[in-house]
């Protein structure tokens, strides 16, 4: 129920416009504590746990990026595995030339962001469904091109060099911290982007594209920006993947399964909410760990759940939670709040009918 223009922020009689329905300071402090505790994990838990956590960070990063694309910019990309693969290969190539894989990580992210520009130029010619398959073809094409170079392993891939000097325990801890940093940055970037002008443009486009365009919103530019950020984020996740697997294999890093996982986690958690990917990743990890012995069953179940959620609970699990307890951890919209007393915003909106004051 975010308002499309900022001009409504002027004070009006009886109520004020706020970012959050509960005090955001507490959730901010809570988030900080969670990150600090997570950062201490390598000292507390077994390396088996941190390895699983790294997997969760990869999925969380991917899901947050896919959420930006599909949940906010309306771009259903089925080719995000292109960036996962490119990120992994950026790390591999730099490591072959003597760089530390961890130093290569930011380079991989930036490289993938840059690579997103020509890719956007190609695929943005097509809309909605055809855009989806075009990104898929592009990912397949990039994989086929990379497979031609035998110096980086050709079709079979190769092990990642440059980590032999590190002891296994240190390597696991570094990988964990790198994964945590990437996931936190991905969430922070989503939050800050959506809180700013871009979020306003994207919300306006989502509500009514024609109206947004005619009031001067630069829709194409906003979508390009999201595509580039998502490319960089998925590239960083691909780099973490390469470091955690210590092996880069084209058919594995360019697998459409990455897009399936990020999409399902996002849809189940809640498309178009920043909290959704976090919940979705948790659901994903639980299912994947419980059903690990049954091959692809976790993916089948996730897919079925995602279909049901997409049809019957469009805002996902987080939407259900939000409806009950009226909570936003990452408020990016605007809310009305009564100055006098504690009347719930929803009741206020109900009393106003649809009469959210328009500028």
């Amino acid at each position: 129920m975010s308002l499309a223009t900022e001009s409504t922020a002027r004070p009006a009689a009886g109520f004020r416009v706020t970012r959050s329905r509960r005090n955001v300071t507490w959730t901010g402090a809570g988030a900080l504590i969670v990150v600090v505790v997570l950062a201490l994990f390598p000292y507390i838990v077994y390396s088996g746990t941190t390895t699983i956590m790294v997997q969760a960070f990869i999925v969380l990063t991917l899901a947050s990026m896919w959420n930006l694309l599909a949940g906010y910019a309306g771009l259903v990309s089925v080719g995000q595995q292109a960036f996962v693969g490119l990120g992994a290969y950026f790390v591999l190539i730099l490591a072959i030339h003597g760089a530390s894989p961890f130093a290569a990580l930011p380079v991989a992210a930036v490289g993938c962001g840059v690579a997103a520009l020509p890719m956007w130029w190609l695929v943005s010619r097509l809309r909605s469904g055809y855009f989806a398959i075009a990104t898929w073809v592009l990912a397949a094409t990039i994989m086929l091109i990379i497979e031609r170079f035998s110096s980086i392993g050709g079709g079979t891939g190769m092990p990642l060099p440059g980590v032999a000097g590190l002891s296994p325990a240190v390597l696991t801890a570094y990988t964990y911290w790198a994964g945590l940093a990437v996931a936190v940055l991905a969430l922070a970037a989503s939050y800050l982007l959506l809180r700013g002008r871009l979020g306003l443009v994207l919300t306006a486009v989502r509500d009514d594209e024609v109206a947004a365009r005619s009031s001067g919103a630069r829709v194409g530019l906003a979508r390009l920006l999201v595509f580039v950020v998502a490319g960089a984020g998925c590239g960083a996740a691909g780099a973490i993947l390469a470091i955690s697997q210590l092996q880069v294999q084209p058919s594995a890093v360019f697998s459409v399964q990455w897009t399936a996982e990020m999409a399902f986690a996002t849809i189940i958690g809640g498309l178009g909410t920043i909290e959704g990917p976090i919940i979705g990743t948790a659901v994903y990890m639980v299912l994947q760990q419980t059903l690990a012995a049954y091959n692809a069953w976790y993916l089948i179940i996730l897919g079925l759940v995602a279909i049901v959620v997409a049809l019957f609970a469009r805002r996902g699990l987080w939407g259900l939670i939000d409806d009950r307890i009226n909570l936003r951890l990452f408020p990016v919209g605007y809310w009305l709040r009564l100055d006098s007393g504690g009347e719930r915003p929803r009741r206020l909106l109900a009393r106003l009918g649809k009469g959210v004051p328009e500028a």
């Binding site: 399936a260 399902f264 089948i300 079925l304 049809l311 469009r314």
Partner: protein
């Protein structure tokens, strides 16, 4: 002579690709649905055909008579339930739902039928036989038959949509759903019929591919969906004959690529696809037909 051979083979495989693309094009033309599970459904049709042949021992081609109606019914049911349900919500939802279906079908096939490849009708004279022109050009009967089937299907669809009463209804609903509804047409039922038609061609595509090559669970996306899509874009969105031309261009590009370097077959096709996307995003035939 090798180049002439490559072009002839390319044109003929183009028929198969046009058959892949037919259902995708039809569903988009009528319902504005891009069915991301398109290729996986073709593989399902192929597996059903294998099952029917193994269980009932009917001749291979007879299985077509069973699988096409089965898939048509499945198409109608899927359209009336899941796809229509998604369509009522938003275009985005149709993409999410069909992508979910695609992944579920592919991994389901992988679980139940393993990653092993399976052919249809291996050893039949139709599948293995060929005739030669000169000493270097060998043409498989099967490819000629598939090409002919593709042309007949496209002609049939064209005739059905432009001349028959039901075809007019489909076009009316595709043009303006509300107006057609006001005139008494139940657009949901019409969408179901269009989906049934599309799924019928999907069945032919799956069986054709199973005979021409080998089916495995990943063939649905890696080959059928992506090639179908490339053919549609190269030919021009919304044109049935453009789809045939797109299929042929894709086939020729792949065969020429294979002639240069055997491992570049698929890549060459995609590069032509990307070139068309850059130079002529409306496709080679920009004329639009009613579908």
């Amino acid at each position: 002579m090798a180049w002439v051979n490559a072009i002839i083979q390319g044109v003929l495989t183009g028929g198969l690709y046009a058959l892949f693309a037919c259902g995708l094009s039809l569903m988009f033309g009528v319902m504005k649905v891009v069915n991301l599970a398109h290729g996986d459904l073709a593989v399902v049709a192929g597996y059903i055909a294998i099952g029917v042949i193994t269980v009932t021992h009917v001749p291979v081609l007879w299985s077509v008579l069973i699988v096409v109606p089965v898939m048509a019914v499945l198409g109608y049911v899927l359209q009336r339930t899941v796809i229509q349900g998604a369509l009522d919500r938003s275009v985005l939802t149709t993409l999410l739902v069909t992508f979910g279906l695609s992944v579920v079908i592919e991994n389901g096939l992988l679980q139940f039928f393993t990653a092993n490849t399976r052919g249809i009708g291996a050893g039949l004279p139709l599948v293995t036989g060929s005739f030669s022109i000169g000493s270097q050009i060998q043409i498989a009967y099967l490819l000629v038959v598939i090409f002919a089937v593709a042309v007949v299907v496209l002609l049939g669809l064209q005739y059905f949509l432009s001349a028959s009463k039901y075809g007019r209804l489909i076009r009316a609903v595709a043009d303006d759903r509300e107006a057609a509804q006001l005139a008494g047409a139940d657009y949901r039922h019409v969408f179901g019929i269009a989906a049934a038609l599309a799924f019928g061609t999907v069945a032919l595509a799956g069986i054709g591919y199973g005979m021409y090559s080998q089916l495995d669970p990943t063939a649905g996306t890696d080959t059928i969906l992506l090639f179908a899509f490339a053919a549609v874009v190269i030919g021009g969105l919304g044109s049935l004959w453009g789809t045939l031309l797109g299929g042929v261009v894709l086939g020729v590009a792949q065969q020429i690529g294979a002639q240069i370097n055997i491992s570049d077959e698929v890549l060459a096709g995609y590069i032509v696809f990307l070139a068309v996307l850059v130079l002529r995003p409306q496709g080679l035939t920009s004329r639009r037909t009613q579908s």
